[in-house]
Symmetry: C2
Subunit: 217 residues, 2 copies
DNA sequence: GTCTATATCCAGATAGAC
DNA sequence: GTCTATCTGGATATAGAC
């Protein structure tokens, strides 16, 4: 039986994924350096030695986690752009789902924070920095294009699209920070309060809340 | 000569302050755990052993830094509240100064980020957590009171004042995150884009940019 | 008052038992 | 396939020299 495609190989990959998810929560709140391999092992309910059977090192584990997080975030941004909706609705949906998902799950805020923390931290592996360098602009650019399209059809307020994309993401990052800090005590702000920054006040946003995994991600 | 009030004592305190400022930059970008005493020493241009003549431990140094940062932030929030200005002008000035200060200096974003990072991180000393527990709500409450006052006189848009204060701070935190990540490449967003979230669109905010140290802080 | 050298401890990583 | 025991490096903290 070839190892690359066997039934057992899939089990092994699932296990890896499980460890990665586990570690994501911890890395997001503690940061790379403060997170011990033993913390991850304890959260996953296994011995710390076992993790080295699945990952080459702490650095390798982290790099893989970051790579996967960016992939999912970029996919989400791509998917959003390709939706057959007017630009304003895209922004509205992205913000609405993101905010809604923050109350129910930590998954998305963890991912955003992980990326945010990693983007600024200098105490992280070199390989991770390279990934950031390559990937971190894409979500900004996707949102900027949507903003620009919305300005053309008049549904989104005037302003430099790049700056508005920055505001979009800094708002989400700020909220993610708040979410993780507050834990379950977090109460999401009203969507209307947030969207005022981008939309003309005349058009009242309808209650667009789709039940889905993790916001734009 | 009494040691508590001598001329030399002041010199020593200045030196401490210098070390604290130095360490603040590093702690803010790397986080507590990833920051080595030797990093701080190198940045200050002294040997690492010397720091232990000024602070009992890494933990003690950090705790003092956090305490001071909260003190300054709370003072700034208090000062803002006490200004003889209409509520809207207070918010406008706080945001304006903050955004302006971000372009010129890292001092304020570092302080905000330091607090933000510390608020969520679980990999920090116990004593620091206690300070956070006691102090972290004050800036939110101060802004919430200003928001409420502004709603009464009609200059600030309707919405739960607590949520609006949260948005105020999450916006600042998000921008601080962005600022530190971008470094000198950071370009502050136009003030008007941000204030749309809080103010009625009719009243055009005047260009209020006061030259001062560090934003609301 | 500051630096250099050293002790101690802890976390990452490995090896070997079951 | 997983766990326990161990090696090793590096960071905190101390002690002693100048």
């Amino acid at each position: 039986m070839r190892p690359g495609s066997s039934h057992f190989e899939k089990q092994r990959l699932d296990r890896r994924e499980e460890f990665l998810t586990c570690s994501g929560k911890i890395f997001a709140s503690k940061g790379y350096a403060a997170t011990k391999i033993s913390d991850i092992a304890a959260a996953a309910g296994v011995s710390q030695g076992l993790l080295y059977r699945y990952f080459t090192s702490k650095e390798g584990l982290f790099t893989e986690l970051i790579r996967g997080s960016f992939e999912k975030l970029n996919q989400a941004a791509d998917g959003l752009e390709k939706l057959h909706l007017p630009p304003k609705e895209k922004i509205l949906r992205a913000l609405g789902e993101t905010i809604a998902s923050m109350e129910t799950s930590e998954l998305f805020p963890n991912r955003v924070l992980l990326i945010a923390q990693t983007t600024l931290s200098e105490g992280i592996p070199e390989e991770t920095k390279a990934i950031i360098q390559a990937e971190s602009r894409k979500p900004y650019e996707a949102i900027a294009r949507i903003m620009e399209a919305g300005q053309k059809d008049g549904s989104i307020l005037a302003g430099d699209p790049t700056e508005m994309a920055t505001l979009f993401w800094t708002t989400i990052k700020g909220l993610a920070l708040h979410r993780v800090a507050q834990g379950t005590a977090f109460k999401a702000p009203d969507l209307k309060l947030v969207t005022r920054m981008f939309f003309a006040p005349s058009s009242d946003p309808p209650a667009t809340r789709l039940p889905q995994e993790g916001g734009v991600a």
